[in-house]
């Protein structure tokens, strides 16, 4: 029953859809929508967030893929 206390789906008043937090900092989502094109001249906001604002996450993602490849190599390949 915990999900019943979450904000309903699609609610514009939910905390993640605000522009400013109660503590005065910007909420990331609204900032990305507003400034993504101005900062990078790229229309696809998801690509901007992926490759610029949170680039280190994406680097981690690539490293995860690399770790998977190396891991399978380590587990299965019997001769090089």
């Amino acid at each position: 029953m915990t999900v019943a206390d979450l904000p309903p789906r699609g609610d514009i008043g939910a905390p993640i859809q605000q522009q400013v937090n109660p503590s005065g900092t910007d909420v990331a989502g609204a900032y990305y929508i507003e400034y993504a094109y101005r900062d990078t001249h790229t229309p696809n906001m998801v690509a901007v967030v992926l490759a610029d604002y949170r680039a280190f996450d994406t680097l981690g993602e690539v490293i995860v893929v690399f770790a998977g490849a190396i891991g399978c190599f380590f587990i299965l390949r019997r001769r090089t």
């Binding site: 937090n21 280190f56 995860v64 380590f74």
Partner: protein
């Protein structure tokens, strides 16, 4: 290099080392250890200088991609994270230095992926320690977990089964963590830890936040092998190869304990996670049960590595007790135990590796007093580490238990005190059993006969090569040094780490 770049440089050094190992290793296999060794030395240097600078000038906040924290990812170097990073990097340097011949012996032809996975594992751990962002923590958790699954899967014939168990439980833990983070994200609208800390008091009475925190604790507890969730650990540590175990066992679970400390006391206020929701108390009592349970099961084991794995369950329980006390003394005990236990476990697992390398087994009923003749220095190191595990005064292990005991007396938590005393006795039982076999039990007929046929003198003949002996002796010395200087460590480093409000 500017000190302000240190927070990102520690994981980045490991990352570049991991990416360089295949390039070097596919060209010439025997060279693949050098990028790994160089990388971990460099990272150790960075974390030492980071610790010094953060004690002098205060915490450093690093903005990745140059965006201000709630927008970009933030890395934080404060005394606690720098200290844990220093522990990780120095232990890993020692273990990688040790691993050179044993990797060639136990997993032949696979040096290149082994060292690449080591570097990825360490990158994940240091990233988890440094990060100030909930989702970035998840990514690094998965990097270290994936490397860990693969490292554990090679070794004994039964190792893949253990690794599969670890994989299912670890993935479930990561999914719990991600679900918990999603609840907190939906309730607060931000992922940055500092930002969450500043708005959490507005929403922390709502059910999703409570459930979210509980799910995070559950997921991290799975990774940390807290008592009811420890099922993956003994098998995994027993069947994996010695070098992999020596790398994963001392530091892998400790980082999850650090994450728990961070989230419960830094992001959420201690009065919330230890008062309003009794999560810290639950962690403490589960830790107490785990201490007793792990110690009792360790007594029943016949294989040295399994015994050490069960004793790891017990030692993680001590950290749980330190969290459960939710007081400055408990915090000091937990952090000091992270350091001490990393050194002790690394030392013991390295010794079991040396035994496998020279004797071909680490089966306790086959130990006898020829060990003290054939491997004298290793036996001495084992005694020092065992004394430290039991917790006798001159060694490091005593002092973390001492702080935990002081904390539980201060809180009036007598159950924890009793658990600490009883567990020391149980530790004594299972370690003295081995020491007795090592020093007193006479040689069996077959062994003497075999040596006679060999005809060569056996005195000190089978001691491990110096590249394996030196790390073991270094760790054993370190245990005594840490024990002597523990007050200096606590007053100069750990005092700065205690979170506000504890």
């Amino acid at each position: 290099m500017n000190t302000s770049n240190i927070p990102v440089l520690i994981p980045a050094v490991f990352m570049f080392a991991a990416l360089l190992v295949p390039l070097v290793g596919l060209w010439k296999k025997s060279l693949s250890i050098y990028p790994a060794l160089l990388g971990s030395l460099l990272a150790a240097w960075f974390s030492a200088s980071g610790l010094m600078s953060t004690i002098e000038h205060g915490p450093i906040s690093y903005h990745l991609s140059g965006w201000v924290p709630p927008l970009g990812i933030e890395y934080i170097l404060d005394p606690l994270s720098a200290f844990i990073c220093l522990v990780i990097t120095s232990i890993s340097t020692i273990v990688i230095f040790y691993s050179r011949s044993i990797v060639r012996f136990e997993t032949p032809e696979k040096e290149m992926p082994f060292y690449a996975l080591c570097m990825l594992f360490l990158m994940g751990l240091t990233g988890m320690v440094m990060t100030g962002d909930f989702f970035n923590l998840y990514v690094f958790l998965e990097i270290s977990a994936l490397a860990g699954y693969a490292l554990i899967a090679i070794g004994d014939k039964r190792a893949p089964v253990a690794a599969f168990k670890y994989l299912t439980l670890g993935t479930a833990g990561a999914a719990f963590y991600l679900l918990g983070v999603s609840f907190i994200f939906i309730s607060t609208g931000t992922l940055n830890m500092g930002d969450v800390a500043s708005v959490i008091h507005l929403v922390d009475h709502t059910v999703p936040v409570m459930i979210g925190l509980s799910l995070i604790v559950l997921g991290t507890g799975l990774k940390m092998a807290m008592f009811p969730m420890h099922a993956w650990m003994p098998d995994a540590y027993t069947y994996a190869s010695s070098a992999a175990t020596a790398l994963i066992a001392p530091i892998g679970t400790k980082v999850s304990a650090y994450v728990l400390l961070r989230i419960m006391f830094d992001v959420f206020e201690p009065s919330y996670s230890a008062g309003e929701l009794p999560l810290a108390q639950i962690v403490g009592y589960l830790g107490a049960i785990g201490v007793i349970w792990g110690s009792i099961l360790a007594i029943c084991q016949k294989e040295l590595k399994t015994m050490l794995a069960y004793s790891s369950v017990a030692q993680v329980g001590y950290i749980g007790i330190g969290i459960g006390l939710a007081s400055p003394l408990g915090f000091i005990g937990a952090v000091l135990h992270i350091l001490n236990h990393a050194c002790m476990k690394a030392c013991l697992f390295l010794i079991s590796g040396s035994m496998r390398f020279r004797l071909g087994h680490s089966w306790i009923p086959k130990f006898e007093n020829s060990l003290r003749i054939t491997m004298p220095w290793t036996a001495v190191a084992f005694v020092v580490a065992a004394i430290s595990m039991i917790g006798l005064p001159p060694t490091a292990g005593f002092f973390s238990k001492w702080y935990l005991a002081l904390g539980s007396i201060e809180q009036g938590a007598w159950i924890f005190l009793i658990v600490l005393l009883v567990s020391s006795l149980l530790n004594a039982v299972y370690f003295f059993r081995i020491i007795e076999k090592m020093y007193i039990r006479p040689q069996s007929e077959e062994m003497i006969k075999a040596q006679d046929q060999d005809g060569t003198p056996v005195w000190g003949r089978k001691e491990a090569p110096w590249s394996m002996l030196a790390p073991v002796m270094l760790l054993a010395t370190l245990l005594i040094v840490l024990g002597i200087f523990n007050v200096w460590i606590v007053t100069n480093f750990i005092e700065f780490m205690i979170p506000i409000g504890l």
